[in-house]
């Protein structure tokens, strides 16, 4: 029953995490995601977190809360956050909240060597 909600890949050399979110992000799934992602981030303490939204087919403002929360955690850890490939709808939600002024939003592929474990 539990569907895969994310793929977490850590690049040891570059100290980067590529977090690919998958499927539907709402308040229910965000609560699960938050818990598991934070545990992994605290363990790895990366310099850079990519949040790749290309695999997300539904997201509401709870997804926004999830991204904002991870951004704050990364800031505390001294790292940066970049949001990748939001759908036009996800982008609209991010923009409604003025997030593009706070977090870098980019449209691109994470190269294989960047997302390798």
């Amino acid at each position: 029953m539990e569907k895969e909600l994310y793929v977490f890949r850590y690049d040891e050399e570059k100290k980067r995490v590529n977090l690919r979110l998958v499927g539907e992000i709402d308040h229910h799934s965000a609560a699960i995601l938050r818990h598991e992602i934070d545990e992994a981030l605290m363990k790895k303490r990366p310099n850079l977190l990519y949040v790749d939204l290309s695999g997300v087919d539904f997201m509401d403002s709870s997804g926004l809360g999830l991204i904002m929360g991870r951004y704050s955690l990364m800031k505390k850890l001294g790292g940066e956050t970049v949001v990748l490939n939001p759908s036009p709808r996800a982008k609209k939600i991010l923009t409604l909240a003025g997030m593009e002024k706070v977090i870098r939003i980019e449209k691109r592929e994470v190269k294989a060597d960047e997302s390798k474990k």
Partner: protein, 148 residues
């Protein structure tokens, strides 16, 4: 919200405020609304707005308990969809404040405070009625584009 238009079809549902029901609720409203032949974008707008309203019932109306959530969907003449999402929970003291972008009454919970803003921007009309300790009703109206 002037719902003077004739009701072509309608459906009602209610379910307990378990967060696992968020996806089922928006999917059911979308499945019924699909009868009115909305565009993919219109259907996604509806799904997102319903998800926001239902989440608010779960998170804010019944913060420490499980209560009932009531949804009614009406397809109205003139290609309109009217959705009512109701709870009998805690209620909202100051509705204008609650609607303010980025305002949240639950700052510890990692809420973005953008729920009402999302509902307003994805639907054509939104109306909130609430009484403290009695509950809240959110009315959402979507006007579908004409198709031929």
């Amino acid at each position: 919200m002037k719902a003077k238009n004739k009701v072509i079809n309608s459906i009602k549902m209610n379910f307990p405020s378990l967060s696992v029901n968020e996806s089922a609720a928006r999917a059911m409203v979308a499945a019924f609304s699909a009868q009115a032949d909305p565009t993919t974008t219109e259907l996604a707008d509806i799904k997102c707005a319903v998800s926001e309203a239902v989440t608010n019932c779960i998170v804010h109306a019944y913060p420490d308990s499980i209560g009932e959530i009531y949804i009614s969907v009406k397809i109205l003449e003139g290609r309109k969809i009217l959705i009512e999402i109701k709870d009998k929970g805690r209620g909202i003291e100051d509705i204008d404040l609650a609607k303010t972008p980025l305002y949240t009454g639950a700052p510890g919970e990692e809420r973005s405070g953008m729920g009402f803003t999302v509902m307003e921007s994805f639907m054509d009309e939104m109306k909130v009625r609430s009484r403290v300790e009695k509950g809240t009703t959110v009315l959402l109206l979507k006007r579908l584009t004409q198709r031929r």
